[in-house]
Amino acid sequence: MSDYGLFYRNWKSKIFNYLVRMTGDGILAGDIMQETFTRHLGHYGEANRDIPLLYRIARNCFMDEMRRRKKQGEVTETAGPEPSIDQDHRLMIRSEYRCVLSAMAALEENERELLSLAAGGDLSYSEMAALLCISEANVKVKVHRARLKLRKLLKEGDR
């Protein structure tokens, strides 16, 4: 297997999981993940191993897809996933994960993004700050607030 093939194998799950947390949809996440690696290879070549850049490309692909869908009237005002995951996707999303994705979908877009990146565990707070164009101090505050909000939403969902 080529070096890039190995890089792809090592990182595809990480990027896919990040995109599932962002979209709440496994099939859509797979499509965007594929586009991410296509763009990464096409624009930066086989030798590039910049992980923050890979996440940046994934984020851009996600935003492009949401813009495209919004234009076509497939999503509403918020660029996030639908709060409920449809029956077909229930088949593939792990049952214990469904309620977390529904709660994630109820977060503000920037909160969902911060938690999705933090949960990846691949970027430091300073790298997340650079990616999202906010200060590192802001990342510290917002990540914790988003975690508390997610916990509240999950508790409300349990009732």
């Binding site: 586009e35 792990r94 975690r147």
Partner: protein
């Protein structure tokens, strides 16, 4: 104590000295300890693998999968019969299902030929185009909303499902196909 330290601890943003201080602080406060444990448990779920493969057993109890056994000859006969019925009952109102361009991309730099075969090609092998020297192969189909099964053929010999699509099912010949849903719900 600054409660943000719980998140800094979860995300490994504390130095070792700060971690010692953090552990000592939560040791002296039950509410703080409880909050930290709750957030750690929540994070454990969030960081777990979100998807699982669909087992054949699950697929077989889904009514939609009956169509699988109709392909390719049975499906063609069904489509032909449906076309005749539609022609007789709705001769002046042909309804065209909107189609969306869908690009299939497959990375295999080490093969000389890649074809795609699936429910949307009538299970015929359609050659894919090599994208320069990138190792990628691509082909775009215009597909109406629905659920499709497909696989790639490498060098007209090896058959592989799409590695980027987690949903798969076995066919009746011992191979595995990727399951792709286009548009909202599968039809």
């Amino acid at each position: 104590m600054n409660h943000q330290n719980i998140s800094l601890f979860i995300d490994d943003e504390l130095t070792l000295d700060e971690k010692i201080e953090f552990v000592e602080e939560i040791h002296g406060s039950i509410p703080l300890k409880d909050e930290a444990v709750e957030l750690l448990r929540q994070e454990k779920i969030l960081r777990s693998d979100p998807v699982k493969r669909i087992s054949e057993k699950v697929l077989k109890v889904t009514p939609l999968r009956v169509l699988r056994f109709l392909r390719p000859i049975g499906l063609a006969a069904t489509v032909a019969a449906a076309a005749v019925l539609i022609f007789f009952f709705f001769p002046f109102a042909p309804q065209k299902t909107p189609e969306t361009p869908y690009r299939f991309v497959f990375y295999r730099p080490d093969v000389s030929r890649v074809e795609i075969t699936g429910s949307f090609t009538g299970w015929n092998a359609v050659p894919m185009r090599r994208v320069g020297d990138s190792g990628y192969w691509e082909h775009t189909f215009n597909l109406p909303q629905g659920e499709y099964r497909f696989a790639y053929l490498l060098n007209s010999d090896e058959r592989l499902p799409d590695p980027t699509i987690q949903t798969r099912e076995g066919d009746d010949f011992g191979s595995e196909n990727s399951v792709l849903s286009i548009g909202g719900r599968a039809t």
